[in-house]
């Protein structure tokens, strides 16, 4: 009951966002006037081919770049207007990332990598590493706790990446082509994992992909072509697909 209450309120609001890049003397418009709302607890897929502007949109949503015009609010906070430090502390508390190329730090062990968001928050070492070990066990890496990234397979690295994205219990997790470098069997595992985390903690997932297969995991599919939203529809078939 409460869940449906929360679900009715948008956690991400994108208002009239436009993004231009200077390329040489010309200006390339990557996003034209985007308006979008994402509800709390939703798994939202931003779908598009390469060059459609989906990555640019993700950058605006996650506060990596400032839009040329318009505003992005997460949980009511206008993140496009935060300073660097405000943004850092906002990311610590509310945002998580799963990257396409995993992006684990090569000189840290799996445990240390997963514990990193808590490290930035100033959580004491023992506490944060205990939390990291617990989460790594959940993603099935209990035998890889002290391994370095290069000693792990791609799927294992991405699982550690997922653990890292969720360790601080963020409100929103951004996943940028999270299975882009993985085979199809691992892709299914990874996607199920992301979705199960999101369901457990009622978290919002923004999934960026060009793969229609992956889009099927989402509650809502937003399709982008040439910097414009061409469709924004609720995905009905996903219910049966992953609520196992």
């Amino acid at each position: 009951m409460q869940a449906s209450d929360l679900r009715s309120r948008p956690i991400i609001e994108v208002k009239n966002v436009r993004k231009e890049y200077p390329v040489g003397d010309e200006t390339v418009v990557a996003l034209k006037r985007i308006n979008l709302e994402v509800m709390r607890g939703e798994i939202c897929c931003i779908f598009g081919t390469s060059g459609s502007g989906k990555s640019t949109l993700l950058n605006q949503l996650a506060g990596m770049e400032k839009p040329t015009r318009g505003e992005v609010c997460i949980g009511g906070v206008p993140i496009s207007r935060l300073t660097e430090n405000q943004l850092a502390s906002f990311r610590q508390k509310h945002l998580g990332f799963v990257f396409q190329s995993y992006n684990l730090l090569p000189n840290l062990t799996a445990t240390e990598n997963v514990a990193m968001p808590l490290l930035f928050r100033g959580v004491p070492r023992q506490q944060r590493e205990a939390a990291a070990r617990k989460l790594l066990t959940r993603v099935g890496l209990s035998h890889r706790l002290d391994h370095f990234p290069k000693q792990m397979s791609g799927g294992q690295q991405q699982r550690a990446g997922i653990a890292r994205a969720f360790i601080a219990r963020p409100d929103v997790v951004f996943a940028d082509e999270p299975t882009g470098n993985l085979d199809s069997k691992t892709t299914v595992e990874i996607m199920e994992m992301i979705c199960s985390f999101a369901r457990d903690y009622h978290q919002t997932i923004i999934l960026v992909t060009h793969d229609p297969e992956m889009a099927s995991y989402a509650d809502r599919i937003v399709t982008l072509i040439d910097g414009e939203i061409v469709s924004n529809q609720v995905n009905n078939k996903e219910r049966t697909h992953h609520e196992i």
């Binding site: 990596m64 850092a88 610590q92 990257f99 190329s101 000189n107 070492r125 890292r164 601080a168």
Partner: protein, 445 residues
């Protein structure tokens, strides 16, 4: 981020690129060594110079004389003594007055066997002697009337009246130096003044009279305080006044002091105190006039040596900057990831600054240890390599002149300076690191 996490991360990053870190540290270490060794040579030079000067006399004594050329208002009197005592930095003041009569003879021994034909007799504030820095070789300052203090070599002024002329004095000048340039042990004088009663014979216009004197102490020769510390007699002003009155007979007149000695607490205050006294209209003398130019020269040499050393440390600083820039361009993606995960900008800055600072610190500490050892080796070579010279080579001491002197402050300074060099050269790279956007994390390879 917690401080110990930052430190842990900093060490981890330094150890990641061991050979590069070691090479950069080596640069700082060489720079630090060259500064410390160079400055220590300068200090050693100055130390032996100071030693030489202080053997010539007390460097903190100022002699105040009546103004040159005619008699002004500025008189050497009790009022002046009181005024001098109030100057800040002045520890003690004593007036000096010499016994000006036709002749002074001293006699010692049974039947006055030993005789000094001439001697300077000076009256001063005997109670202030210790404070003034008179060094007593034996005995103590004169405490009561009739007591005197004599100079170190007074006894050598006496001749033995029972021996033939030409062979009746102990010579302390010829053959005083041995062939290798060191001072030889002096032959003993005929008597020990502490053990004998002196008889002072004064002749003046009003006649001749003798006074018995008891020697209460012997002071070390010190030319900054006057020649009486060598071959004269010092007594209280009161005693001297009585002798003068007696010698002058009926024509009693007030005689001003010959000079006033001022003892300054610290050598660094001498110039200032001297300046102040000069401003009062008196002429002054002190070892300062010799010490100043010598010190200036020594300082110039020290600056030159230190500057040479500093050049290599600055080269090392460039090395640190280079290393940090390299490591930042290697870690661009990492920094982006950390930012994306919510690392504060300040933490990133602190991380890189502390890496650069740590390189400086490690280089500085190793540099200090090595230059300390090098300094001891240099000193051992100059003192002669033997085990008993080891301690003087490290700590110095009375009569040991070291070539290289490393005071504790120099080590501390070198370490702090190295750390600052590290931080300074890490500043630009750290700023570069801070500007790396979180977007770097998302860029695909």
């Amino acid at each position: 981020m917690k401080r110990n996490d930052l430190m842990h991360m900093c060490l981890q990053n330094l150890l990641r690129r061991k050979s590069r870190t070691i090479l950069t540290v080596l640069g700082v270490f060489i720079g630090c060594c060259s500064i410390v060794i160079m400055v220590s040579l300068g200090i050693g030079m100055k130390e032996s110079q100071d030693k030489m000067l202080s053997e010539m006399g007390d460097l903190t004594i100022i002699t105040v004389n009546a103004p040159q050329g005619g008699r002004g208002k500025a008189k050497l009197d009790e009022a002046l003594v009181r005024r001098l005592k109030t100057i800040s930095g002045v520890e003690a003041v004593t007036p000096k007055q010499s016994l000006e009569v036709d002749s002074v003879r001293l006699m010692v021994g049974t039947g006055n066997r030993y005789l000094a034909e001439w001697s300077s007799v000076v009256g001063l504030d005997t109670q202030a002697m210790e404070q003034m820095g008179y060094q007593f070789l034996s005995g103590a300052p004169a405490a009561k009337s009739g007591d005197v203090v004599v100079g170190q070599y007074l006894a050598y002024n006496f001749k033995d009246t029972l021996r033939p002329e030409g062979m009746n004095m102990v010579d302390r000048w010829t053959n005083a130096w041995s062939e290798d340039g060191s001072e030889k042990e002096l032959p003993p004088p005929y008597f020990d003044p502490m053990q004998e009663k002196l008889t002072l014979e004064i002749s003046s216009e009003s006649g001749k009279f003798t006074v018995p004197l008891r020697v209460s102490g012997v002071v070390k020769e010190d030319y900054s305080k006057g020649s009486e510390t060598s071959e004269g007699i010092m007594m209280s002003l009161g005693d001297l006044r009585k002798l003068l009155d007696k010698a002058q007979g009926n024509k009693k007149k007030a005689v001003p002091y010959d000079s006033v000695l001022v003892k300054v607490g610290n050598i660094s205050q001498v110039a200032q105190v001297e300046e102040e006294i000069k401003a009062m209209g008196y002429s002054t003398e002190s070892m300062e006039s010799i010490r100043k130019p010598m010190e200036k020269e020594a300082r110039q040499k020290q600056m030159m040596l230190g500057g040479l050393g500093a050049i290599s440390l600055f080269v090392a600083a460039l090395g640190i900057t280079n290393t940090m820039i390299m490591s930042i361009s290697e870690r661009t993606r990492e920094i982006g990831i950390m930012k994306a995960l919510g690392c504060y900008v300040t933490d990133i800055r602190v991380m890189f600054l502390s890496e650069a600072g740590a390189i400086g610190l490690i280089g500085g500490v190793i540099g200090c240890i090595v230059s300390f050892i090098a300094s001891v080796v240099i000193n051992l070579v100059s003192l002669g390599p033997s085990v008993e010279n080891l301690l003087p080579a490290i700590l110095g001491g009375e009569g040991v002149s070291r070539v290289s002197v490393i005071p504790p402050w120099l080590l501390l300074f070198a370490v702090v300076f190295s750390v600052f060099i590290g931080l300074g050269s890490g500043y630009y790279p750290a700023n570069k690191a801070v500007q790396i956007p979180a977007l770097e994390a998302i860029k695909s390879e």
